[in-house]
């Protein structure tokens, strides 16, 4: 049923712990050095990659580890963005409090989504999360008094300390590092292993005495919490929110990044986010038809490389080695 994730379960996860720490340190250090060599525009792009990487990772928790691909995470992400912008611009809260409220709101929405969605699997899960996400979009579009309708809302969300491009980039990098570590621990915890068990055989886990809906509910809510962090960071990045932040395209881009980076690889999300955002920028230099390119990319990946670019590379390399 949920064959996108297919055979891409992380094969190296067992031996990863020992060698991982130095590699992670090198990657983070390299990422931290980026503002020294990039232009401020490129630093902005790199910030975006980190934020959407977190979103894609949160989708991967469900898609790659619980076998349930969500098309509603863009809405969860966007709710956090809306709440953060609203809290600072309209309610006058300090950024830190607004951030907390944003993440809390996203977690609550995720919990509501989860309550409904845990009973379904496969295509039905996809459909239901899609419908739920679009309801959020419809409300953001129509509830003009609060959300500003189609025009959206503007607010100076970013704290004064982080106004420079590089400063904000480093803050987001720090957040992304912590969040990535937290998610990595989460999927490797006994709880995460249970989720993987549910992905592989729901009925077996049930007969072993696991409370499958409860595990999925918690998994979904945690995933929504992380998507909320990404959304709150995005509010600070953009200082603006409009219905397109919660639109289906947002969820779809997140899923595409997750798939492009490799389902079930977790950190592949950053690679996927980088690829999609680079593509978006490349394309928008020549044409305004980003939506079409996004659609075509999606079709091409589904037809030729459903295991994602990293998975595809692995397959090609394996062929070459032989």
């Amino acid at each position: 049923m949920t064959a996108v994730q297919g055979k891409s379960a992380p094969p190296r996860s067992a031996g990863m712990a020992r060698g991982a720490a130095p590699i992670a340190a090198i990657v983070v250090a390299a990422a931290a050095a980026l503002p020294l060599v990039l232009s401020s525009y490129q630093v902005g792009l790199a910030t975006e990659v980190l934020i959407f990487g977190i979103l894609a990772m949160s989708i991967d928790i469900l898609g790659g580890f619980a076998g349930r691909t969500s098309l509603g995470h863009g809405a969860i992400f966007g709710v956090s963005t809306y709440v953060v912008v609203y809290a600072t611009a309209q309610a006058g809260l300090p950024p830190a409090a607004a951030f907390a409220f944003g993440v809390l709101a996203a977690t609550l929405i995720a919990a509501i989504f989860a309550l409904l969605a845990v009973r379904t699997s496969g295509v039905y899960f996809l459909l239901l999360t899609l419908a739920l996400g679009m309801i959020v979009w419809g409300i953001c579009l129509r509830w003009t008094q609060v959300t500003g309708g189609e025009n959206g809302m503007r607010g100076d969300v970013r704290p004064a300390l982080l106004l420079t491009h590089s400063g904000f980039y480093w803050a987001v990098l720090a957040a992304a590092t912590i969040v990535s570590y937290a998610m990595w621990r989460f999927v490797r915890s006994p709880f995460g292993l249970t989720l993987r068990g549910i992905r592989d055989s729901e009925s077996r886990m049930r007969s072993l005495g696991y409370n499958v809906p409860l595990h999925l509910f918690i998994g979904f809510t945690v995933s929504g919490f992380f998507a909320g962090i990404a959304g709150a960071l995005y509010a600070m990045f953009n200082n603006f929110v409009s219905p397109s932040t919660v639109a289906l395209a947002q969820s779809v881009e997140g899923v595409l990044m997750m798939i492009a980076g490799g389902v079930g690889t977790l950190f592949g999300a950053f690679v996927g986010a980088a690829a999609i955002i680079a593509l978006e920028n490349l394309v928008s230099a020549y044409t305004e038809r980003w939506q079409m390119v996004l659609g075509i990319t999606f079709i091409l990946i589904m037809v030729f490389a459903p295991e994602g670019m990293i998975g595809k590379l692995r397959v090609i390399l394996a062929h070459k080695m032989r």
Binding site: L116, V123, L126, I139, F298
Partner: protein, 283 residues
């Protein structure tokens, strides 16, 4: 609710039925959740609008939009979906990509303005029903919905093709093993479902008007209808359409800004008790 609002709900349900029946036919038989269905609706509306304004004939617009959308459906099924057969999730995500392409293509061709398909002179104005003065065109939509329901019911229950489709919904492999070319049945169903989206686009385009986000709105309503009614059941689509149509009208009257939310509550309650929908069956 006044009888005016009741009629609004009923006519909207009729439109939903036309669109969602195509969606559920494809979902039920081919196991394909065609997320491009909303985009097909919008595209059909635009094509119908262009033909109807150029030729001055509403009927020609209807035939044109159904033919054009069936042709797009043909390309979609034979050109793209064949590569991902048998993999539900890949199919869904692929149709999502197609939806984005179609939607953007419509924006390139017709721009971002909103259009209203011209209503033929004999359907303009209103008439008196149940003690209220009501637009004739919306009653025509209701009639069309009923005709489509009757036609689909006859097709499914009293023709050979219908028997094959019903058998295919239950067990496609068994049908194939008894010597039927199920691929062709699949294709015909896909074209029929697409044509219904095109017809819906033309009909909806005349009273809801056509604009760039109309595809997403109609898709959510169709999803709600299918989630409530259950996959591949004609009766389910009928009941689902009525429920969603009335709830939406009720929502618009009572909480205009949160109308979307009103279809969400009952859907949630229903899912808690029947995850496969009212008339859905596990396979």
């Amino acid at each position: 609710m006044s009888s005016f609002q009741l009629l609004n709900g009923l006519t909207f349900a009729a439109l939903l039925f036309v669109v969602a029946s195509g969606f559920t036919l494809i979902f039920g038989l081919l196991r394909i959740v065609n997320l491009a269905h909303g985009a097909l609706y919008l595209f059909g509306g635009y094509v119908g609008y262009t033909i109807a304004t150029q030729s001055g004939s509403f009927v020609l617009g209807g035939i044109g939009s159904m033919a054009a959308i069936a042709a797009i459906g043909f390309v979609l099924d034979q050109g793209l979906l064949r590569f991902v057969r048998g993999n539900e999730l890949r199919q869904v995500l692929l149709t999502l990509g197609v939806a984005f392409v179609l939607k953007d293509l419509a924006l390139v061709i017709w721009g971002g303005d909103s259009f209203t398909v011209p209503i033929p002179p004999m359907l303009r104005g209103g008439m008196r029903v149940f003690g209220v003065f009501y637009p004739t065109y919306r009653l025509f939509v209701l009639l069309t919905g009923l005709v489509v329901f009757a036609a689909l019911w006859l097709l499914l229950n009293h023709t050979r093709l219908g028997a094959l489709i019903r058998a295919g919904v239950d067990d496609a492999e068994m049908v194939e093993a008894s010597g039927v070319n199920i691929r062709r049945v699949f294709l015909v169903t896909f074209l029929l479902g697409s044509a219904l989206a095109g017809l819906g686009g033309l009909m909806g385009g005349a009273f809801l008007s056509l604009y760039p986000s109309a595809d997403a709105e109609i898709l959510v309503f169709s999803l709600a209808v299918v989630i409530i009614g259950g996959r591949g059941s004609l009766i389910g689509v009928g009941v689902g359409s009525l429920l969603v149509g009335f709830l939406n009208t009720l929502g618009q009257v009572m909480f205009p800004e949160l109308a979307y939310f009103v279809i969400f509550g009952p859907m949630a309650v229903l899912l808690a008790f029947r995850p496969l929908g009212l008339f859905g069956r596990a396979t």
